[in-house]
């Protein structure tokens, strides 16, 4: 078992290395005077000196474009990134890691609640659809699931906004808080409620987009399990259909489910760039999108590196969970 684990960790590190190199190469695309343009305003205002600009160029390999030069700057960037220093954002005037840690919790909150909702809605629907294959329920649910994955997030957001925020006026349109409301100093609960109210639509959008995939996954796996021999044995023992489905079949479906669901966990910290922007929720997705559009290289690099780490972490967790949940892969 340890062998397996070590191999996976080694693989993860290799991938991380490769991804970081690729991301670093992104900066290679930038034309020579890109950084000059971006920092021109800051230099003029005196927030940055020409040495700072040169240092930046060196950091992103734009100063010395020979191969050893790039390699050197990549390594120095990588070491500082892995030790937590993700650079200094142009746009926000703060270390990137600061910005990330400040805004990450809203993004996580939205993502996490949708995650829970997706599980609570998608899995039971998937089970019911698999038990009643080819029924009207199965078809309807499958079609809705596929519509969910076919909708662009910005379109769904706009639709919901139109209906709920504008026409019906029951939910707020954008933002995290109601700007015009002033709360007395200790009304924490009220503030929280206000924030929660603003998060209803974004969470709904994320849930609707994701529940379809989970439902289909559950359904496919349940169908495969329900056709196995051991389910036939369970029925032959005289167990009721409910016990057969929820105890025998579902326990087997849990293996791929838990594996992939736990693999999704790190990704919850990554933020939803489009949805947050449309709803003007100040999460890191929103910050990252702005940074991208405005060419804030340190932030872009830092953010992408962060996402890569999350992805690889998810891979690792999913592998580990597979070992934990499947008794066939136990300590041998």
């Amino acid at each position: 078992m340890w062998n397996y684990l070590l191999k996976r960790v080694a693989l993860a590190l290799v991938i991380l290395f490769g991804v970081s190199a690729l991301i670093y190469l992104l900066s290679m695309l930038m034309p020579a005077d890109y950084i000059d343009n971006q920092t021109a305003a800051a230099v003029q205002m005196g927030a940055m000196t020409l040495e700072d600009v040169q240092r930046l160029k060196e950091l992103y390999g734009l100063a010395d474009k020979s191969l050893p030069g790039i390699a050197k700057s990549y390594l120095s960037w990588l070491t500082s990134a892995l030790s937590g220093d993700l650079g200094y954002s142009f746009l926000y005037g703060r270390p990137v890691s600061d910005v990330l840690s400040q805004y990450i919790w809203i993004s996580f909150m939205i993502a996490f609640i949708s995650y829970l909702l997706e599980i609570a809605i998608g899995i039971p629907m998937g089970i019911k659809a698999s038990v009643n294959q080819y029924s009207a329920y199965d078809y309807t649910v499958s079609v809705f699931a596929m519509i969910g994955t076919a909708l662009p997030s910005f379109f769904l957001s706009a639709l919901l906004m139109n209906v709920f925020a504008i026409r019906l006026g029951i939910l707020p349109l954008q933002g995290l808080t109601t700007a015009t409301k002033v709360f007395p100093p200790n009304a924490h609960f009220q503030i929280l409620l206000d924030k929660a109210w603003h998060l209803v639509l974004p969470i709904t959008v994320l849930t609707l987009l994701g529940v379809g995939g989970l439902m289909k996954f559950t359904r496919t796996n349940m169908l495969e399990v329900l056709n196995s021999d051991y389910i036939r044995t369970a029925r032959a023992k005289g167990l009721s259909e409910n016990v057969v489905t929820y105890k025998h079949a579902f326990r087997n479906t849990l293996i791929p489910l838990v594996t992939s669901l736990s693999g999704m966990l790190p990704g919850l910290f990554g933020g939803a760039m489009i949805t947050e922007t449309v709803f003007a929720i100040p999460g890191i997705g929103y910050m990252a999108l702005r940074a991208t559009q405005q060419g804030d290289i340190p932030f872009i690099m830092g953010y992408n590196m962060f996402l890569a780490i999350l992805t690889v972490l998810g891979m690792l967790i999913s592998d580990i969970m597979y070992m934990v949940v499947d008794p066939r892969v136990k300590l041998s």
Binding site: S228, Y230, R232, T233, L239, R251, P327
Partner: protein, 405 residues
């Protein structure tokens, strides 16, 4: 949409019996069949799912009180999109108390479906028991009509009074639960007032009974930690937990090594005597039949073509198919260089002909064989066969080796 129609139109020939026309169905045809099937299936399913059905509706009388199970003109069909597959097409035989009845036939002849019908485990919703009756005599003396029993009542019979073991021991046990847990489940389900402790004791006792050396260890094992033979023993132990009246063994040794095969068969016979029960042994292996069975039922294409005691079938087979089966078994005694095999194939199960199903493969067929289906002809009170040649004694000696090649 002419383009689509070009795709859809696959030429349809006239639906003549005996001819495989499944490839020719147009989409419209398939849709029509599908719709009709849904209607029929819905009716059957509704009947099966009724709750709180009064017992009188499914109580009946056995024809012979010495029988545990009586199959009487059973018809089990599968309603598929390409037509109705008549898997079991008029099967009648008995399983007497304390005896082993062997059901022989090639793949697809309907022997498994017959046993599944008895357990009401036929693959729903496509598979349905359409006609006929299955009478089962319970230990408490009551006699049940299984085809009329509602699902919730059937659950009390399965595993408790009739138990089944399957062909593939490697995949028949749930891989995520321990052996002990799976075995206790049966006891806890069926025995009134059983405690987990009592269930555990019973399970260990059963594991011991089937010849497992270290029941404790196996009790705590997962299925993947055991060999095929061990798993089949566990399956048998599980089947025995509630002292069933009848054990259905569907090809229990086909997936095992020959040496293990012998052990498992020995075990089954042993067990049958210990619990004073009957066994319905389904197999295509004549050797197994010869060793184990008291009575033999030979099935072909959904019907029984011969049945009798094991002596009668082996020493005096009447139906050409049975004779062919006997000859097919390779033996060191034959002087021929070629292995004998019955030429031809089983007819298409969707469109069965109106005459003897074996006609196109039979080397003794006469004119009438292509015109009507032969009825069962009784030779002794146990031995009967469905063959035109058996009538009026106008039949060739089975020991004659005159070939018509």
């Amino acid at each position: 949409m002419g383009l689509l129609d070009k795709w859809k139109n696959i030429k349809e020939t006239e639906v003549e019996p005996g001819i495989d026309h499944t490839m020719y169905l147009t989409l419209k045809e398939e849709r029509r069949i599908s719709r009709e099937n849904s209607r029929i299936i819905k009716q059957f399913e509704r009947e099966k799912n009724r709750k709180n059905v009064p017992e009188e509706e499914y109580l009946t009388q056995m024809r012979d009180p010495n029988n545990v199970v009586e199959f009487d003109n059973l018809h089990t069909y599968f309603f598929t999109d390409v037509g109705t597959v008549k898997s079991v097409n008029g099967v009648t035989f008995d399983i007497p108390q304390g005896k082993v009845v062997g059901v022989v036939g090639e793949s697809g002849c309907g022997k498994s479906v017959t046993s599944l019908s008895l357990m009401q485990l036929v693959q729903a919703p496509q598979g349905q028991i359409v006609a006929g009756s299955i009478r089962y005599q319970s230990r408490d003396g009551k006699c049940y009509e299984i085809t009329k029993m509602p699902k919730d009542r059937m659950l009390k019979v399965r595993g408790k009074e009739i138990a089944m073991i399957f062909q593939e021991p490697m995949t028949s046990l749930n891989p995520v639960f321990k052996i002990g847990e799976q075995m206790d489940e049966v006891v806890l389900l069926h025995e009134e007032g059983a405690t987990p402790k009592a269930a555990r004791e019973r399970s260990l006792e059963m594991l011991n009974l089937v010849g497992i050396a270290d029941p404790q260890k196996v009790y705590n094992n997962y299925p993947h930690e055991l060999s095929g033979g061990m798993r089949q023993r566990v399956m048998i132990a599980m089947a025995l937990s509630c002292t069933p009246r009848l054990i259905i063994a569907d090809e229990p040794t086909t997936a095992l090594d020959v040496t293990i095969q012998a052990q498992i068969l020995e075990l089954l016979r042993d067990v049958k005597n210990k619990i004073n029960g009957s066994i319905m042994l389904i197999t295509h292996d004549l050797g197994v039949i010869a060793e184990m069975a008291d009575y033999v039922v030979v099935m072909y294409a959904g019907r029984i073509i011969e049945k009798g005691t094991v002596r009668e079938i082996f020493h005096n087979p009447k139906h050409p198919y049975t004779i062919g089966l006997m000859r097919s078994k390779p033996s060191g005694k034959t002087k021929d260089n070629r292995l004998y095999s019955i030429k031809g194939q089983v007819p298409n199960p969707i469109n069965m002909p109106n005459h003897c199903y074996f006609y196109n493969r039979c080397d003794r067929a006469i004119g009438i064989c292509a015109e009507e289906y032969p009825e069962m002809i009784q030779f002794t009170d146990t031995h009967s066969a469905a063959c035109h040649l058996c009538r009026n004694g106008g039949f060739m000696d089975t020991n004659s080796t005159k070939e018509q090649r």
